[in-house]
């Protein structure tokens, strides 16, 4: 099969690396490989119908800052320039209007390509429209990497907990906020903790999406639509960020043996992101940049999963599971 990687930042590069490393696995499982026939970043693209050399792409990106020599006016021109089966859409998330990611996914589905994405924006804003489009074209649109990075949650609910009613999911879905709140547990004020998160590379220069709870809200929407069958968008989420949390609140929580964590909660009726008081030792009191989710199920009771919530290679692991899912269906294992 042939894949086109749209977006060649940290995640795109990691996906390319993982695909290159897993060639033997693909051969053993399917009797054929998964070729990367196209790669595109914000300024350039590269294609080869016989498969690109991933090492060359990575080296070029490192040396010159661009993935290819060819330039494009519109992304669809690059997508049209080579035949492929799966679009791996990992451009930057835009939660205002879905950005180029939304257009790329729509374009690929309309042209009968399967899509794997880690881009939250399009799914948080236009989930139903995209899934309908995928159904109409008999294509897969898979998105394990959009929620919780390496932490399996979408496929866990879809496969391992299939048939069971999921009563609720609540969890830590933003590692940046969790890092900041963990630092505040040790006495650092919010501003210093945020600055440290930026210096460590956990927070963006503009941390609004993280600290105002917008990033977590996107994930909550994706879970609500994909697992609870709801039809909601980003604007339906009741969002409270962490910017007003002060040292006094942390101290009062601590005096009651609790911590404050930014929790996303979704059920058939709830759709919320808010700071919550969590007893120490509770699965949701997790420190650092980890993500965690507590899934309350019909028969199995509560199930807790956790994992590294961001990062190139971790998100690539989620994308790999979706690629295998598609290849299992298209080729058979």
């Amino acid at each position: 099969m042939k894949a086109f990687i749209c977006g060649f930042g940290t995640i795109g590069q990691s996906v390319a690396k993982v695909i290159a490393e897993k060639q033997e696995f693909f051969k053993d499982r399917y009797g054929e490989t998964l070729l990367v026939v196209g790669a595109l970043d914000s300024r350039s693209f590269a294609t080869d119908p016989n498969g690109l050399d991933v090492d060359v792409l990575l080296e070029r990106k490192k040396q010159k800052g661009t993935v290819g020599e060819q330039v494009y006016r519109e992304i669809k021109d690059a997508l049209d320039s080579v035949d492929f089966d799966i679009l791996i859409e990992v451009t930057a998330t835009d939660i205002n209007n879905g950005g180029v990611g939304l257009e790329n996914i729509k374009y690929a589905l309309k042209h009968d390509k399967d899509v794997v994405t880690a881009n939250k924006g399009p799914l948080a804003l236009r989930y139903k429209e995209l899934m309908t489009l995928a159904d109409e074209h008999n294509r897969y649109l898979l998105f394990e990497g959009t929620v919780g990075g390496a932490m399996p949650i979408i496929n866990l609910n879809k496969y391992d907990l299939a048939g069971q009613k999921i009563k609720s999911i609540r969890g830590i879905f933003n590692g940046t906020c969790n890092y900041i709140l963990t630092k505040m547990d040790s006495g650092q004020p919010f501003e210093q903790a945020l600055k440290e998160a930026q210096q460590q590379g956990y927070a963006e220069a503009d941390p609004t999406n993280d600290v105002e709870g917008y990033d977590s809200a996107c994930k909550v929407v994706i879970l609500a639509n994909s697992i609870f069958g709801r039809n909601v968008t980003f604007k339906d989420v009741d969002i409270t960020g962490i910017t007003t949390i002060n040292s006094d609140a942390i101290a009062l929580a601590k005096s009651n043996d609790m911590v404050i964590r930014l929790i996303g909660e979704v059920s058939a009726t709830k759709l919320e992101v808010a700071p919550r008081l969590i007893p120490r030792g509770h699965p949701l009191s997790l420190p650092g940049t980890l993500n965690t989710a507590e899934i309350v199920t019909e028969y199995a009771g509560p199930i807790t999963v956790s994992g590294i919530g961001a990062g190139g290679i971790e998100t690539a692991s989620a994308i790999l599971s979706d690629l295998i899912d598609i290849m299992d269906e298209r080729i058979g294992d």
């Binding site: 007003t244 002060n246 009651n256 008081l277 007893p279 509770h282």
Partner: protein, 163 residues
């Protein structure tokens, strides 16, 4: 409700079972039984039983025991309580918290309520308060949540609740 009962039954075969049957008849759920043979008064043996029962059926249960010549020495209830903590952050003072608590008291019954205020934050004008409540029914917590959510939104106060 959960009830602890101390009963005295005649020291005859089948009396222990006879003392438990009425609990089943009122659809109670027996949580524990101790046949206290060391405690005998007037040829009757002590039975301590803990059970869960709809409080409306307790009177009927007493009648059933009395009809079986079972002496009720002690009957006490234990209530399960639900705890919840809330932190409020914003331009709030003791009067504001009092008004919130008044609204909560008007809407629901609480077993216990504790409020702690922080000293005013040095850099900002905001106060922080921790409200801890104990309620007899889980629905009461939902009512408190609804009140605090609405009031805090109106006053632009950050509201953090437990899980």
């Amino acid at each position: 409700m959960i009830v602890n009962a101390e009963l005295f039954v005649n020291d005859l075969p089948g009396q222990l079972i006879g003392s438990l049957e009425p609990i089943s008849m009122v659809e109670g759920n027996i949580l524990g039984v101790v046949h206290n043979r060391e405690k005998i008064i007037d040829h009757r043996i002590c039975v301590n039983v803990t059970f869960e029962v709809d409080d409306k059926r307790l009177e009927r249960l007493k009648e059933l025991w009395q009809a079986k010549d079972i002496v009720i020495s002690n009957l006490g209830s234990v209530h399960e309580t639900y705890n919840m903590d809330y932190i409020l952050i914003g331009d709030i003072n003791a009067a504001y918290i009092d008004s919130l608590l008044r609204k909560i008291s008007e809407a629901t019954t609480l077993d216990e309520i504790n409020v702690r205020h922080s000293s005013k934050s040095i850099k900002t004008a905001s106060h922080t308060s921790l409200i801890s409540v104990k309620a007899r029914y889980e629905e009461n917590l939902d009512k408190i949540d609804a009140i605090l959510r609405k009031e805090c939104k109106q006053a632009n106060v950050t509201y953090i609740r437990g899980v």
